[in-house]
Assembly symmetry: C2
């Protein structure tokens, strides 16, 4: 699975910095007319008419954010881009450009880096995003990926975390908890493999949850859908830390409370199956605290409900309340419990 | 010199991620009206009328790009910003916003990170730049800083490396080789200190070269000067790898050759003094290959010469030739030798 085991190995030092960057970026074409100048100069140049520019940045660190024993480099490259595009989506904007900084130890070959960039390329292709710059450097240990994404949005349509109002409906796209379920499977397989190196994992039945963890997709389709329906959410965030933490982020920024209905939280059957394998009766804690689902969590005015109610990919899970009511979840037994966010995860 | 030795120590895990970012960025104010939304959401939002956006990104890695034994964290923060602003300057643009990603091992305390951010803050203040986002993460080892700078330039005024034409004059700002001379001093002091830990360095007489290495300044004053004089360079780059490598970058991108006059290359007296201490007869190799001066190297039409000739900070060092002439340096003895760039430095 890991491409560093590839028999062809070119040392990064054999190529040199400029040749390496040329080598890694040679297949990236410019797709956006707003990209005036891409890779290869001191900076990229982006044209801008009457739109607003949206900028997001994030980093992924070996041993902290990913484990090389079960993360194919191609998936890692894809995911590194996807999670940044997800932040742009969470602003109600469309991503247009990215820059990629990578620091890599000499444990990695050029072939390994090429695999990583193949994943970056795939994400750029899939979401019509231009790679416009970056830096590839040596690292004393491990792999570091730092990506900045730049997007655009019509003036006045950027959506912040801070705009939720009392009585607004709380919506979430897709399903929650599946990425974390994928991670649970990968961690279990790693432990089993350590105990018995001849062990051959059969992961076929976990395809969905593994994909959700290894290759998340930014919900730009939801941004497009909302735009087509003429719905501008009052607030929005992407679910990266888990529903509990992220809904509390919106409530904190908007100075409001919330009531989320446990039975309305969308959970895929595959997630439920993994939880039962792990002896969990209910998958709700994966949805609340698992994180990395990269779904969109947003609030809309009640008046906009009719415009979104027929979309299978959008689920109304609660409503915004006065701040004094706190950030609460209502269980199927009609008990109200306080949402708890995980702290510093890493 | 190193603030990690500070007796007050707060573990990063005591604060938590959000509190840490709030803590580190609480003194940064928004200064540009184009900054619609800064730190604290999924992405920053930047307004844009009829200008072009310029984006640059770079990373600094402990043990590769800097040595903690002689780099004060405040200087490091300042430098990390400065070198990105220098890339924006090299596009003939004005920096407006930055994002900062930092990965840090638990060897660093909150106080150490605060020192780093104090330097970032100072650079933002000095150059009227807004911090608009970023990510602070754990690192398994060492300190990683990845910065993206965003600037603006009037349409049509962005200057690339690729625009130099035959007969254009080659100009450079300030002086060259001083930053590398500062590094030589720091490396020598480190070696002396290792041999004798009671050794107290006397660095006062090296103030200029140490400042040049530890606290470089982007030459935005030169961008402003050229703009005021109505001069748009035909090509431009900042001197980060050394004059030889950087002039060859311009020649390669512009598909031209060059003739640089050795005796025209500006070298400060302090650089000459350091070289003589190190037994070098001539400081020219520090200027050609030292790098990290962050001066601007640019070409102008001959017709623009009168507009820049009275500026003490701009030196004409040669001219552009046909590609077939190669990239050459003319010595004071009138010998022509080929410029050689260093390769993968790290």
């Amino acid at each position: 699975m890991i491409t560093t085991e590839n028999p062809t190995r070119t040392e990064i030092s054999d190529l040199g910095e400029y040749a390496l960057i040329e080598h890694l970026t040679r297949e990236f074409e410019i797709k956006n007319t707003s990209t005036i100048k891409g890779v290869g100069d001191d900076a990229a140049v982006i044209d801008n008419a009457d739109k607003q520019t949206v900028v997001s940045t994030d980093m992924l660190i070996e041993g902290i954010d990913f484990d090389m024993t079960y993360t194919p480099l191609r998936h890692l490259g894809y995911k590194a881009v996807a999670i940044n595009l997800s932040d742009i989506a969470a602003m109600n904007a469309t991503p247009k450009q990215i820059t990629v900084n990578i620091a890599v130890s000499n444990r990695y070959s050029v072939e390994a880096l090429s695999e990583l960039y193949a994943g970056i390329y795939l994400a750029c292709q899939r979401y019509d995003v231009d790679l416009v710059g970056g830096d590839t450097s040596a690292s004393p240990a491990g792999l570091f990926i730092s990506i900045t994404a730049i997007g655009e949005v019509e003036k006045g349509k950027a959506v912040y975390r801070s705009g939720a109002n009392v009585h607004d409906l709380i919506c979430v796209s897709g399903d929650l908890g599946s990425a974390y379920s994928g991670l649970l499977i990968l961690e279990r397989e790693k432990a089993t493999f350590k105990a018995n190196p001849n062990y051959q994992p059969d992961l076929a039945s976990f395809d969905y949850v593994l994909d959700r963890y290894l290759k998340p997709e930014p919900r730009l389709d939801i941004v497009k859908f909302l735009n087509e329906k003429g719905v501008v959410p009052t607030s929005m965030i992407d679910v990266s830390d888990g529903l509990a933490s992220d809904v509390m982020q919106i409530c904190k920024a908007s100075d409001v409370g919330c009531e989320v209905y446990e039975e309305k939280i969308p959970i895929d059957y595959a997630t439920t199956m993994v939880c039962s394998e792990f002896g969990q009766l209910l998958p709700i804690s994966n949805a609340l605290n698992g994180g990395e689902d990269y779904e969109l969590l947003f609030t809309i005015k009640q008046a906009d409900y009719d415009k979104i109610k027929d979309c299978n990919e959008v689920h109304v899970i609660g409503h915004i309340t006065d701040k004094s009511m706190g950030t609460m979840m209502v269980t199927p037994q009609n008990t109200t419990i306080e949402l708890k966010a995980q702290g510093w995860k890493k």
